[in-house]
C-alpha cells in the first residue's frame, strides 16, 4: 500500500474526510498509479529492429537504382542517442542550421531519449511506405 493511500485511510479513520471523499481520492491515486505504470512500461519499446527497404520499380532496376535492405537494431539507435551528448555546441548549431535550410525547424539539442522511444514506439505500429516513380521505400520497426 502506498503512502498516499495510508494517509487517506488515516484521514478517514480520524473523521477528517467522508467515505465518498476517501473513495474519490483513492480512485484518483489508483488512476495516477496506473498512469505511472503505463508510462514506465511505455518507455521501453518492444520493437527490436528498424527495417529500411528500398525496392526499385519494375523496369527501373537496369538503371542506377539499387535494391537496399538495411536492418538496424533499435538498441543501437538508443545507444547512439547517448553520443548526442558529445556533439560540440558549435557542431549542434551547424546541424540545426542545416536542418533549417532543409525546412526542418528542429533543435538537435532538445532531442531527448523519450523522443526517440516515442518515435520507435510509433514505428512499431506504423509502416512508412513511399511509392515514388523510381522506387518503393518502406520503413518499419518490428
Amino acid at each position: 500500500m502506498g503512502e498516499n493511500q495510508k494517509r487517506i485511510l488515516q484521514m478517514l479513520a480520524e473523521g477528517k474526510i467522508t467515505v465518498e471523499e476517501a473513495s474519490r481520492l483513492l480512485s484518483l491515486i489508483g488512476v495516477e498509479s496506473w498512469e505511472t505504470k503505463d508510462s514506465v512500461k511505455g518507455t521501453k519499446s518492444d520493437a527490436k529492429y528498424l527495417y529500411i527497404q528500398v525496392k526499385p520499380k519494375e523496369g527501373q532496376e537496369s538503371q542506377k537504382n539499387a535494391r537496399v535492405n538495411v536492418r538496424v537494431p533499435v538498441s543501437l539507435i538508443r545507444a547512439g542517442m547517448k553520443l548526442k551528448a558529445l556533439i560540440p555546441p558549435q557542431a549542434a548549431d551547424d546541424i540545426n542550421k542545416g536542418l533549417k535550410d532543409k525546412g526542418i525547424a528542429f533543435d538537435i539539442k532538445n532531442l531527448k531519449d523519450e523522443d526517440v522511444e516515442q518515435l520507435v514506439d510509433a514505428l512499431r505500429n506504423t509502416e512508412i511506405y513511399v511509392d515514388s516513380a523510381e522506387a518503393e521505400i518502406i520503413v518499419r520497426a518490428e
Binding site: K64, R67, V68, N69, R71, L76, K82, L83, A85, L86
Partner: protein
C-alpha cells in the same frame, strides 16, 4: 548485460573485384576493450588536469559519457544487416 558482436560478414562485388570476409570480432574485441580502457585512463588524466586548472569539464564529459557510450554502441552493433544490390556494386555486411 549486452555482449559485443562476435563475427562480421562482409561481401563486396563491383564486377571487377570480388571478395568476402568473415572477421572474427571476438578476437578483435579484447584488443578494442584494452584500447578503450587505455584511452579512458589517458583521458581521465587530461580531464582531471583540465578540471583542476581551468574548472572546465569538456574532457570529463568525454570520459564520463563518451567512452561508455562508445562501448554501448559497439555492444549494440550485433544484428546490423546491410544489403545493397546496385547494378554496378553489391555490398553485404552482417554483424552477429
Amino acid at each position: 548485460m549486452k555482449w559485443p558482436p562476435y563475427i562480421m560478414k562482409l561481401r563486396f562485388d563491383n564486377g571487377k573485384h570480388r571478395f568476402g570476409f568473415w572477421i572474427p570480432l571476438f578476437l578483435i574485441g579484447p584488443i578494442v576493450l584494452v584500447f578503450l580502457l587505455a584511452i579512458f585512463l589517458i583521458m581521465l588524466v587530461f580531464a582531471l588536469l583540465e578540471f583542476i586548472f581551468s574548472w572546465r569539464c569538456d574532457w570529463l564529459r568525454w570520459v564520463v559519457v563518451g567512452i561508455p557510450a562508445i562501448h554501448r554502441v559497439l555492444c549494440s552493433l550485433s544484428g546490423v544487416h546491410v544489403d545493397v544490390d546496385a547494378p554496378d556494386v553489391k555490398v553485404y555486411i552482417a554483424i552477429r
